[in-house]
Symmetry: C2
Protein backbone atom coordinates (compact mmCIF):
# COMPACT_ATOMS: atom_id res chain seq x y z
CA UNK A 1 0.00 0.00 0.00
CA UNK A 2 1.15 3.49 -0.82
CA UNK A 3 1.45 6.15 1.83
CA UNK A 4 -1.88 8.00 2.13
CA UNK A 5 -0.63 11.32 0.83
CA UNK A 6 0.61 9.62 -2.35
CA UNK A 7 -2.71 7.82 -2.76
CA UNK A 8 -4.54 11.10 -2.50
CA UNK A 9 -2.39 12.71 -5.19
CA UNK A 10 -3.01 9.69 -7.44
CA UNK A 11 -6.77 10.17 -6.88
CA UNK A 12 -6.46 13.79 -7.97
CA UNK A 13 -4.63 12.91 -11.17
CA UNK A 14 -7.26 10.27 -11.96
CA UNK A 15 -9.68 13.16 -12.47
CA UNK A 16 -7.75 14.40 -15.52
CA UNK A 17 -9.06 13.38 -18.97
CA UNK A 18 -7.64 10.14 -20.37
CA UNK A 19 -5.67 9.43 -17.20
CA UNK A 20 -6.09 5.92 -15.79
CA UNK A 21 -4.60 4.26 -12.73
CA UNK A 22 -1.17 3.57 -14.30
CA UNK A 23 -0.70 7.08 -15.66
CA UNK A 24 -1.88 8.71 -12.44
CA UNK A 25 0.59 6.58 -10.50
CA UNK A 26 3.32 7.48 -12.95
CA UNK A 27 2.68 11.21 -12.58
CA UNK A 28 2.52 11.01 -8.80
CA UNK A 29 5.74 8.98 -8.64
CA UNK A 30 7.47 11.31 -11.00
CA UNK A 31 6.56 14.25 -8.82
CA UNK A 32 7.79 12.45 -5.70
CA UNK A 33 11.01 11.40 -7.41
CA UNK A 34 11.88 14.25 -9.72
CA UNK A 35 10.17 17.43 -8.58
CA UNK A 36 11.99 19.57 -6.06
CA UNK A 37 9.92 21.27 -3.35
CA UNK A 38 10.22 24.42 -5.46
CA UNK A 39 8.85 22.64 -8.53
CA UNK A 40 5.85 21.43 -6.57
CA UNK A 41 5.26 24.88 -5.15
CA UNK A 42 5.41 26.31 -8.64
CA UNK A 43 2.82 23.82 -9.88
CA UNK A 44 0.60 24.72 -6.94
CA UNK A 45 1.01 28.43 -7.66
CA UNK A 46 0.10 27.88 -11.30
CA UNK A 47 -2.98 25.93 -10.34
CA UNK A 48 -3.91 28.69 -7.98
CA UNK A 49 -3.31 31.25 -10.73
CA UNK A 50 -5.72 29.45 -13.04
CA UNK A 51 -8.29 29.13 -10.28
CA UNK A 52 -8.24 32.82 -9.42
CA UNK A 53 -7.56 34.54 -12.70
CA UNK A 54 -8.97 32.69 -15.71
CA UNK A 55 -12.47 33.60 -16.84
CA UNK A 56 -14.45 33.71 -20.07
CA UNK A 57 -14.37 36.79 -22.28
CA UNK A 58 -17.86 38.25 -21.87
CA UNK A 59 -18.12 38.91 -25.62
CA UNK A 60 -16.71 35.82 -27.33
CA UNK A 61 -16.27 33.19 -24.60
CA UNK A 62 -12.51 32.74 -25.10
CA UNK A 63 -10.35 32.47 -21.99
CA UNK A 64 -8.92 35.64 -20.53
CA UNK A 65 -7.64 37.18 -17.32
CA UNK A 66 -9.39 40.46 -18.10
CA UNK A 67 -12.90 41.48 -18.94
CA UNK A 68 -12.32 41.20 -22.69
CA UNK A 69 -9.98 38.70 -24.33
CA UNK A 70 -7.01 39.82 -26.40
CA UNK A 71 -8.86 39.32 -29.69
CA UNK A 72 -12.01 41.21 -28.70
CA UNK A 73 -9.96 44.07 -27.27
CA UNK A 74 -7.71 44.33 -30.36
CA UNK A 75 -9.11 47.08 -32.57
CA UNK A 76 -6.61 46.19 -35.32
CA UNK A 77 -8.54 43.02 -36.08
CA UNK A 78 -11.20 42.90 -38.75
CA UNK A 79 -14.38 43.75 -36.84
CA UNK A 80 -16.72 42.48 -39.57
CA UNK A 81 -15.94 38.76 -39.42
CA UNK A 82 -16.59 36.23 -36.67
CA UNK A 83 -15.09 32.76 -36.76
CA UNK A 84 -17.06 30.29 -34.65
CA UNK A 85 -15.24 27.41 -32.94
CA UNK A 86 -16.14 24.79 -30.35
CA UNK A 87 -13.31 25.18 -27.86
CA UNK A 88 -10.76 27.81 -26.81
CA UNK A 89 -7.94 25.62 -28.10
CA UNK A 90 -9.47 25.79 -31.58
CA UNK A 91 -8.76 29.52 -31.54
CA UNK A 92 -5.08 28.69 -31.08
CA UNK A 93 -5.19 26.28 -34.04
CA UNK A 94 -6.63 28.96 -36.29
CA UNK A 95 -4.15 31.56 -35.03
CA UNK A 96 -1.28 29.22 -35.73
CA UNK A 97 -1.94 29.34 -39.50
CA UNK A 98 -1.66 33.19 -39.41
CA UNK A 99 -4.28 33.58 -42.09
CA UNK A 100 -7.28 34.88 -40.17
CA UNK A 101 -7.42 38.35 -38.66
CA UNK A 102 -11.06 38.71 -37.63
CA UNK A 103 -12.91 38.05 -34.39
CA UNK A 104 -13.76 34.75 -32.70
CA UNK A 105 -16.66 33.17 -30.93
CA UNK A 106 -16.20 30.12 -28.70
CA UNK A 107 -19.28 27.91 -28.26
CA UNK A 108 -17.84 25.68 -25.54
CA UNK A 109 -18.88 22.47 -27.22
CA UNK A 110 -21.17 21.27 -29.98
CA UNK A 111 -24.73 19.98 -30.11
CA UNK A 112 -24.78 16.42 -28.81
CA UNK A 113 -28.23 15.13 -27.79
CA UNK A 114 -26.75 11.88 -26.48
CA UNK A 115 -24.71 13.83 -23.94
CA UNK A 116 -27.61 16.13 -23.15
CA UNK A 117 -26.03 19.09 -24.93
CA UNK A 118 -28.59 21.09 -26.87
CA UNK A 119 -28.24 24.59 -28.35
CA UNK A 120 -29.16 26.09 -24.96
CA UNK A 121 -26.04 24.60 -23.40
CA UNK A 122 -23.78 26.36 -25.91
CA UNK A 123 -22.58 29.96 -25.92
CA UNK A 124 -24.95 30.81 -28.78
CA UNK A 125 -27.19 33.62 -27.49
CA UNK A 126 -24.26 36.03 -27.25
CA UNK A 127 -23.25 35.05 -30.79
CA UNK A 128 -26.68 35.94 -32.18
CA UNK A 129 -26.68 39.15 -30.14
CA UNK A 130 -23.25 40.13 -31.50
CA UNK A 131 -24.40 39.54 -35.07
CA UNK A 132 -27.61 41.54 -34.59
CA UNK A 133 -25.98 44.43 -32.78
CA UNK A 134 -22.70 45.00 -34.56
CA UNK A 135 -21.40 45.39 -38.10
CA UNK A 136 -20.69 41.71 -38.76
CA UNK A 137 -20.63 40.79 -42.45
CA UNK A 138 -19.48 37.17 -42.38
CA UNK A 139 -19.78 34.31 -39.95
CA UNK A 140 -17.29 31.51 -40.64
CA UNK A 141 -18.31 28.30 -38.92
CA UNK A 142 -15.27 26.24 -38.00
CA UNK A 143 -16.86 23.60 -35.77
CA UNK A 144 -15.41 20.07 -35.97
CA UNK A 145 -15.90 17.74 -38.91
CA UNK A 146 -18.06 15.50 -36.71
CA UNK A 147 -21.79 14.82 -36.44
CA UNK A 148 -22.06 17.25 -33.54
CA UNK A 149 -19.97 19.90 -35.24
CA UNK A 150 -22.02 19.62 -38.40
CA UNK A 151 -25.33 19.75 -36.49
CA UNK A 152 -24.12 22.88 -34.73
CA UNK A 153 -23.14 24.48 -38.05
CA UNK A 154 -26.55 23.70 -39.56
CA UNK A 155 -28.31 25.05 -36.48
CA UNK A 156 -26.41 28.35 -36.57
CA UNK A 157 -27.00 28.69 -40.29
CA UNK A 158 -30.73 28.09 -39.79
CA UNK A 159 -31.08 30.67 -37.01
CA UNK A 160 -29.21 33.25 -39.07
CA UNK A 161 -31.15 32.70 -42.30
CA UNK A 162 -32.99 36.02 -42.01
CA UNK A 163 -29.98 38.06 -40.95
CA UNK A 164 -28.03 40.07 -43.49
CA UNK A 165 -24.81 38.18 -43.03
CA UNK A 166 -22.81 35.66 -45.02
CA UNK A 167 -22.56 32.30 -43.27
CA UNK A 168 -19.76 30.01 -44.44
CA UNK A 169 -18.40 26.66 -43.31
CA UNK A 170 -14.70 25.73 -43.53
CA UNK A 171 -14.00 23.05 -46.14
CA UNK A 172 -14.10 19.30 -45.65
CA UNK A 173 -11.58 17.34 -47.67
CA UNK A 174 -8.37 15.36 -47.77
CA UNK A 175 -5.78 16.56 -45.27
CA UNK A 176 -2.74 18.08 -46.99
CA UNK A 177 -0.03 15.45 -47.40
CA UNK A 178 -2.44 12.52 -47.39
CA UNK A 179 -3.18 10.21 -50.30
CA UNK A 180 -6.57 8.81 -51.36
CA UNK A 181 -5.58 5.40 -50.06
CA UNK A 182 -5.48 6.56 -46.46
CA UNK A 183 -8.66 8.63 -46.43
CA UNK A 184 -12.01 7.14 -45.46
CA UNK A 185 -14.99 7.11 -47.81
CA UNK A 186 -16.84 9.93 -46.12
CA UNK A 187 -13.85 12.23 -46.39
CA UNK A 188 -13.35 11.34 -50.05
CA UNK A 189 -17.05 11.89 -50.70
CA UNK A 190 -16.87 15.29 -49.03
CA UNK A 191 -13.69 16.12 -50.95
CA UNK A 192 -15.45 15.25 -54.20
CA UNK A 193 -18.50 17.33 -53.32
CA UNK A 194 -16.28 20.25 -52.42
CA UNK A 195 -14.17 20.08 -55.59
CA UNK A 196 -13.08 23.41 -57.08
CA UNK A 197 -12.75 24.40 -60.69
CA UNK A 198 -9.07 24.69 -61.49
CA UNK A 199 -9.32 27.30 -64.22
CA UNK B 1 -2.40 33.46 -27.27
CA UNK B 2 -3.56 31.97 -24.02
CA UNK B 3 -3.88 34.03 -20.88
CA UNK B 4 -0.56 33.93 -19.02
CA UNK B 5 -1.83 32.00 -16.02
CA UNK B 6 -3.07 29.22 -18.32
CA UNK B 7 0.26 29.17 -20.15
CA UNK B 8 2.07 28.76 -16.88
CA UNK B 9 -0.09 25.81 -15.86
CA UNK B 10 0.55 24.20 -19.27
CA UNK B 11 4.29 24.66 -18.66
CA UNK B 12 3.98 22.87 -15.34
CA UNK B 13 2.15 19.91 -16.86
CA UNK B 14 4.80 19.68 -19.60
CA UNK B 15 7.20 18.60 -16.88
CA UNK B 16 5.28 15.35 -16.28
CA UNK B 17 6.61 12.19 -17.99
CA UNK B 18 5.20 11.47 -21.43
CA UNK B 19 3.21 14.70 -21.48
CA UNK B 20 3.65 16.79 -24.63
CA UNK B 21 2.16 20.13 -25.65
CA UNK B 22 -1.25 18.73 -26.64
CA UNK B 23 -1.74 16.70 -23.50
CA UNK B 24 -0.56 19.52 -21.25
CA UNK B 25 -3.04 21.85 -22.95
CA UNK B 26 -5.77 19.26 -22.58
CA UNK B 27 -5.14 18.87 -18.85
CA UNK B 28 -4.98 22.62 -18.27
CA UNK B 29 -8.19 23.18 -20.24
CA UNK B 30 -9.92 20.40 -18.45
CA UNK B 31 -9.02 21.95 -15.13
CA UNK B 32 -10.26 25.36 -16.26
CA UNK B 33 -13.49 23.91 -17.63
CA UNK B 34 -14.35 21.06 -15.32
CA UNK B 35 -12.64 21.52 -11.97
CA UNK B 36 -14.47 23.56 -9.36
CA UNK B 37 -12.43 25.87 -7.15
CA UNK B 38 -12.73 23.17 -4.48
CA UNK B 39 -11.33 20.53 -6.84
CA UNK B 40 -8.33 22.72 -7.64
CA UNK B 41 -7.76 23.40 -3.95
CA UNK B 42 -7.92 19.67 -3.27
CA UNK B 43 -5.30 18.98 -5.96
CA UNK B 44 -3.10 21.69 -4.47
CA UNK B 45 -3.53 20.22 -1.00
CA UNK B 46 -2.59 16.78 -2.26
CA UNK B 47 0.51 18.12 -3.97
CA UNK B 48 1.41 19.88 -0.79
CA UNK B 49 0.84 16.65 1.16
CA UNK B 50 3.26 14.78 -1.06
CA UNK B 51 5.81 17.56 -0.83
CA UNK B 52 5.75 17.67 2.97
CA UNK B 53 5.10 14.09 3.98
CA UNK B 54 6.52 11.55 1.56
CA UNK B 55 10.03 10.31 2.19
CA UNK B 56 12.06 7.14 1.67
CA UNK B 57 12.02 4.35 4.23
CA UNK B 58 15.50 4.53 5.74
CA UNK B 59 15.82 0.72 5.63
CA UNK B 60 14.41 -0.37 2.28
CA UNK B 61 13.92 2.83 0.26
CA UNK B 62 10.18 2.37 -0.27
CA UNK B 63 7.97 5.44 0.08
CA UNK B 64 6.54 6.24 3.47
CA UNK B 65 5.24 9.07 5.63
CA UNK B 66 7.02 7.67 8.68
CA UNK B 67 10.55 6.70 9.48
CA UNK B 68 10.00 3.06 8.49
CA UNK B 69 7.65 1.94 5.71
CA UNK B 70 4.71 -0.34 6.41
CA UNK B 71 6.61 -3.45 5.28
CA UNK B 72 9.76 -2.82 7.31
CA UNK B 73 7.71 -2.00 10.40
CA UNK B 74 5.49 -5.10 10.05
CA UNK B 75 6.95 -7.80 12.32
CA UNK B 76 4.47 -10.36 10.92
CA UNK B 77 6.38 -10.44 7.66
CA UNK B 78 9.09 -13.01 7.00
CA UNK B 79 12.27 -11.26 8.21
CA UNK B 80 14.61 -13.66 6.42
CA UNK B 81 13.79 -12.79 2.79
CA UNK B 82 14.41 -9.61 0.85
CA UNK B 83 12.88 -9.05 -2.57
CA UNK B 84 14.82 -6.47 -4.58
CA UNK B 85 12.96 -4.24 -7.05
CA UNK B 86 13.81 -1.18 -9.11
CA UNK B 87 10.93 1.15 -8.26
CA UNK B 88 8.42 1.65 -5.45
CA UNK B 89 5.60 0.79 -7.84
CA UNK B 90 7.14 -2.66 -8.36
CA UNK B 91 6.45 -3.35 -4.68
CA UNK B 92 2.78 -2.76 -5.40
CA UNK B 93 2.91 -5.19 -8.35
CA UNK B 94 4.38 -7.92 -6.16
CA UNK B 95 1.91 -7.22 -3.35
CA UNK B 96 -0.98 -7.49 -5.79
CA UNK B 97 -0.25 -11.18 -6.40
CA UNK B 98 -0.51 -11.87 -2.61
CA UNK B 99 2.13 -14.54 -2.76
CA UNK B 100 5.12 -12.88 -1.12
CA UNK B 101 5.27 -12.08 2.58
CA UNK B 102 8.90 -11.10 3.12
CA UNK B 103 10.70 -7.77 3.10
CA UNK B 104 11.51 -5.47 0.19
CA UNK B 105 14.39 -3.39 -1.04
CA UNK B 106 13.88 -0.59 -3.58
CA UNK B 107 16.93 0.31 -5.68
CA UNK B 108 15.44 3.38 -7.33
CA UNK B 109 16.51 2.38 -10.80
CA UNK B 110 18.81 -0.05 -12.52
CA UNK B 111 22.36 0.11 -13.84
CA UNK B 112 22.38 2.09 -17.06
CA UNK B 113 25.79 3.38 -18.15
CA UNK B 114 24.26 5.27 -21.07
CA UNK B 115 22.23 7.37 -18.65
CA UNK B 116 25.13 7.72 -16.26
CA UNK B 117 23.60 5.38 -13.68
CA UNK B 118 26.19 3.11 -12.13
CA UNK B 119 25.91 0.96 -8.98
CA UNK B 120 26.78 4.02 -6.84
CA UNK B 121 23.63 5.80 -7.98
CA UNK B 122 21.43 2.95 -6.75
CA UNK B 123 20.23 2.24 -3.22
CA UNK B 124 22.65 -0.71 -2.96
CA UNK B 125 24.86 0.06 0.04
CA UNK B 126 21.97 -0.22 2.47
CA UNK B 127 21.00 -3.52 0.81
CA UNK B 128 24.45 -5.03 1.40
CA UNK B 129 24.43 -3.62 4.94
CA UNK B 130 21.04 -5.20 5.64
CA UNK B 131 22.24 -8.57 4.36
CA UNK B 132 25.44 -8.44 6.40
CA UNK B 133 23.82 -7.25 9.60
CA UNK B 134 20.56 -9.16 9.84
CA UNK B 135 19.31 -12.70 9.53
CA UNK B 136 18.57 -12.65 5.79
CA UNK B 137 18.55 -16.11 4.19
CA UNK B 138 17.36 -15.36 0.65
CA UNK B 139 17.63 -12.39 -1.69
CA UNK B 140 15.12 -12.56 -4.55
CA UNK B 141 16.11 -10.24 -7.36
CA UNK B 142 13.03 -8.98 -9.21
CA UNK B 143 14.57 -6.27 -11.35
CA UNK B 144 13.12 -5.78 -14.86
CA UNK B 145 13.62 -8.20 -17.71
CA UNK B 146 15.73 -5.58 -19.49
CA UNK B 147 19.44 -5.15 -20.12
CA UNK B 148 19.72 -2.77 -17.17
CA UNK B 149 17.66 -4.98 -14.89
CA UNK B 150 19.76 -7.99 -15.80
CA UNK B 151 23.03 -6.11 -15.31
CA UNK B 152 21.84 -5.02 -11.90
CA UNK B 153 20.91 -8.59 -10.97
CA UNK B 154 24.34 -9.88 -12.04
CA UNK B 155 26.06 -7.10 -10.12
CA UNK B 156 24.18 -7.85 -6.91
CA UNK B 157 24.84 -11.57 -7.29
CA UNK B 158 28.55 -10.89 -7.79
CA UNK B 159 28.87 -8.67 -4.73
CA UNK B 160 27.05 -11.22 -2.59
CA UNK B 161 29.02 -14.23 -3.77
CA UNK B 162 30.89 -14.57 -0.45
CA UNK B 163 27.87 -13.97 1.75
CA UNK B 164 25.98 -16.88 3.26
CA UNK B 165 22.74 -16.11 1.49
CA UNK B 166 20.74 -17.62 -1.36
CA UNK B 167 20.44 -15.24 -4.30
CA UNK B 168 17.63 -15.98 -6.79
CA UNK B 169 16.25 -14.23 -9.83
CA UNK B 170 12.54 -14.31 -10.79
CA UNK B 171 11.83 -16.36 -13.92
CA UNK B 172 11.89 -15.13 -17.48
CA UNK B 173 9.36 -16.77 -19.80
CA UNK B 174 6.14 -16.51 -21.71
CA UNK B 175 3.54 -14.31 -20.02
CA UNK B 176 0.52 -16.33 -18.85
CA UNK B 177 -2.24 -16.22 -21.48
CA UNK B 178 0.17 -15.62 -24.36
CA UNK B 179 0.90 -18.03 -27.18
CA UNK B 180 4.26 -18.79 -28.78
CA UNK B 181 3.24 -16.87 -31.87
CA UNK B 182 3.11 -13.55 -30.04
CA UNK B 183 6.31 -13.91 -28.03
CA UNK B 184 9.61 -12.62 -29.34
CA UNK B 185 12.62 -14.91 -29.86
CA UNK B 186 14.51 -13.76 -26.79
CA UNK B 187 11.53 -14.48 -24.55
CA UNK B 188 11.06 -17.92 -26.12
CA UNK B 189 14.77 -18.65 -25.74
CA UNK B 190 14.63 -17.65 -22.07
CA UNK B 191 11.46 -19.70 -21.61
CA UNK B 192 13.24 -22.74 -23.10
CA UNK B 193 16.31 -22.24 -20.92
CA UNK B 194 14.10 -21.90 -17.87
CA UNK B 195 12.02 -25.01 -18.59
CA UNK B 196 10.98 -27.12 -15.61
CA UNK B 197 10.68 -30.84 -15.33
CA UNK B 198 7.00 -31.70 -15.13
CA UNK B 199 7.31 -34.86 -13.12
Amino acid sequence: MYPKSLDRLIESFLRLPGVGKKTAERYAYYIVNNFSKDDIEKLMENLSGVKDKIKRCRVCGFLTEDDLCEYCSDSERDQTTILVVEEPKDVESIERCRKYHGLYHVLNGSISPLNGIGPEELNLQTLFKRIKESKIKEVIIATSATVGGEATALYINKILENEEVTVSRIAYGMPVGSSLEYNDETTIMKALEGRKNMR
